[in-house]
């Protein structure tokens, strides 16, 4: 969960949304605070003005007893919670609905109505000497205080939906852009693993920049596909066009062989030349076959192939070859079971033949070569030998066309065998691994 939220937080749209929410909230807060301050001071000013006006009204009275009468009359129906009028007459008598009392703890407002009950709350007061007495008018600040609550509510009501909408919008955008990025990433993955026909399908709701990235990626892939296709076509054409002259040479050598004495030195030369021609055409065929396997179109003709029978046939086929080199070829394949994969039988056979052939050639005299096939959670075909193996640094390079290890330069082979193995494995969606059999090489193919 934490990993997921950390991942989502790294998404650009969500970060933008959160930043915007923060910015918006700060601005709202500042502007509301400013208008609160202005309104509040305007309110207080209005209260002060009211007080001044009240005071002026009482000053208009002619003498102290008239003030006392006015105060008494006006305060009778006035809630001291709202407005307190208090006149201390020159005689010391207090008129009004409240009074300011003083004790050891400080000043208190007390009601003159309900038996000197203390009045809570804040008041704004104006006090003035009048006709030998002192008139105090206090207006409650409750309304001003209420203003704060009102502003706080405004802030809350306006900000909360904004924050919620922005955050969930950001989340949705983040998810969507994540999906779109995922589409682009998957396409790039396909392209790098060799499927050059992979393209980004741009959705109708994609953002413009993602659409541009997708389109550029598609153009790039198309260009790469074209150049690879051209390259393949050219190499196929070359192999194809060279085959006709090689064919002529081959037939001419056949005819020559009929004319020379079978036991003569000339016959040996002719035989050697025929073998060379066969070698040349084998390289052509391998190159053409590689080009075709890499195109991937053969998948359309895939059929169930029994790997168990194929392994047994090939083991039995190469057994005499192994025997001649003092090698042991072990076929570790479950008996009487079919192990089926969807594929092209000849290519799978060629793949296995190349692997066994490689082991026979490179593992050396007396080596032990094991072909094993298991069908547990996955179908795993392995060819293991106890020869010198392949140094780890070179294990990927040997899969390249025409690449050969230095020490193998003098053994037969054209450096295309393992390339074809890799291409056939890829065509069948199988995973090829060259590992260390300690000592020796273990090639495993997992379907």
């Amino acid at each position: 969960m934490r990993a997921l939220s950390a991942k989502i937080w790294r998404s650009m749209p969500l970060r933008l949304a959160v930043l915007l929410v923060l910015l918006f909230s700060t601005v709202s807060l500042l502007s509301l605070a400013a208008s609160y301050a202005v309104t509040r001071s305007a309110f207080e000013q209005a209260v002060r003005d009211d007080l001044a006006q009240d005071m002026a009204g009482f000053r208009a009275a002619p003498n102290a007893s008239a003030v006392a009468l006015l105060v008494e009359a006006e305060s009778r129906d006035t809630d001291p919670g709202r407005l307190i009028l208090s006149y201390i007459a020159p005689s010391g008598r207090i008129f009004g609905n409240g009074a300011i009392a003083r004790d050891g703890e400080g000043y208190h407002l007390v009601s003159l109505r309900d038996g000197l009950a203390e009045i809570e709350g804040e008041y704004l007061a104006l006090s003035s000497a009048l006709y030998g007495g002192r008139l105090t008018i206090a207006r409650s600040r409750a309304e001003v205080e209420a203003l704060g609550t009102v502003f706080f509510n405004i802030l809350w009501i306006s900000l909360l939906p904004t924050v919620l909408i922005a955050l969930s919008g950001g989340l949705v955008l983040a998810r969507r852009s994540k999906r779109h990025v995922e589409v682009v990433r998957a396409t790039l993955d396909d392209l790098t693993t060799g499927d050059l026909s992979a393209r980004v399908t741009v959705g109708p709701r994609w953002s413009d920049d993602m659409v541009r990235i997708g389109e550029t990626l598609n153009q790039m892939a198309a260009a790469q596909e074209r150049s690879v296709a051209t390259l393949r076509q050219v190499s196929s054409d070359i192999a194809h066009d060279l085959k006709t002259p090689v064919q002529r040479v081959s037939l001419q050598l056949d005819e020559l062989a009929q004319e020379v004495d079978a036991e003569s030195g000339a016959a040996r030369l002719v035989d050697e030349a025929r073998r060379e021609v066969a070698g040349i055409s084998a390289v052509f065929d391998s190159l053409l076959q590689l080009a075709q396997v890499e195109q991937g179109t053969l998948r359309e003709t895939f059929q169930p192939v029994d790997l168990a029978t194929l392994c047994r046939t090939l083991c039995e086929m190469y057994e005499p070859d192994a025997h001649e080199q003092d090698q042991t070829l072990v076929c570790d394949v479950p008996a009487d079971v079919e192990i089926l994969v969807s594929g092209e039988r000849n290519l799978l056979g060629q793949m296995l033949a190349n692997l066994i052939q490689n082991a026979l050639r490179h593992a050396g005299q007396g080596a032990r070569i094991t072909v094993s096939l298991e069908d547990t959670d996955a179908i795993r075909l392995t060819v293991t030998d106890d020869g010198p193996g392949i140094p780890e640094a070179e294990r990927t390079r040997v899969l390249e066309r025409l690449y050969r290890l230095d020490r193998s330069r003098n053994t037969p082979g054209n450096g295309l065998g393992l390339s074809l193995v890799a291409a056939v494995a890829r065509l069948h969606g199988a995973e090829l691994t060259l590992g260390d059999a300690d000592p020796g090489l273990q090639v495993s193919i997992v379907f």
């Binding site: 194809h240 085959k243 006709t244 090689v246 064919q247 002529r248 040479v249 081959s250 037939l251 001419q252 056949d254 005819e255 062989a257 079978a262 025929r274 021609v277 055409s281 084998a282 065929d285 053409l288 076959q289 075709q292 179109t297 053969l298 003709t301 046939t313 090939l314 039995e316 086929m317 190469y318 005499p320 070859d321 001649e324 092209e344 000849n346 290519l347 056979g349 060629q350 033949a353 190349n354 052939q357 026979l360 065998g417």
Partner: protein, 223 residues
Amino acid sequence: MKLLVIEDDATTGTYIARGLREEGHTVDLVEDGREGLIQATSRVYDVLVVDRMLPKVDGLSLVKTLRGAGNRTPVLFLTAMGSVEDRIGGLNAGGDDYLVKPFAFGELSARVQALARRPQAVEQDTVLRAGDLTLDLLSRKVVRAGVEIDLLPREFALLEYLLRRKGRVQTRTMLLEGVWDISFDPMTNVVETHVSRLRAKVDKPFDTALIQTVRGAGYKIDA
């Protein structure tokens, strides 16, 4: 036999035609697909040897057209394209066999022979014979000059295959296809190794060799 070779490369065509004539066949040679179609429909041939890439009418459509018109003459395709897909395409179009360039003449000759005899290739005998050797398909026993020979299953299959095609050359690739059901290149001389093992049991202990090597082509057991 009467053969028609349709091959646009003049040199290759001439060599093939000359070689086949030397083997005693009557050979017509044409260099494009249209001419080939005309020849193939106006005469009766035992086997057609057709290059896949031909000017005017290409090999594939030529054979499709013939098959569409009910002509069942066996066809051997020659092609520079050796891939599985091409092979399947050729056989689907109505070709009977497929030979990838460059090929040795012996291979071509052996395959032409095999094609011409294909319809008669069904033999009902349960005992195959050659000289003083008998192979019993039911008891799976091989006896030569009164001595029973112990063969491994694949050696038995190889001997049976050669015996069933007595007198005809069987090339390395034909044996791979017929005995091992393999139509890919095993990249090594496995066939030679297996034949020499068979020889060690069937021929070596006896005075005469039954299995003959045909240089540049393959093996055969004389009729």
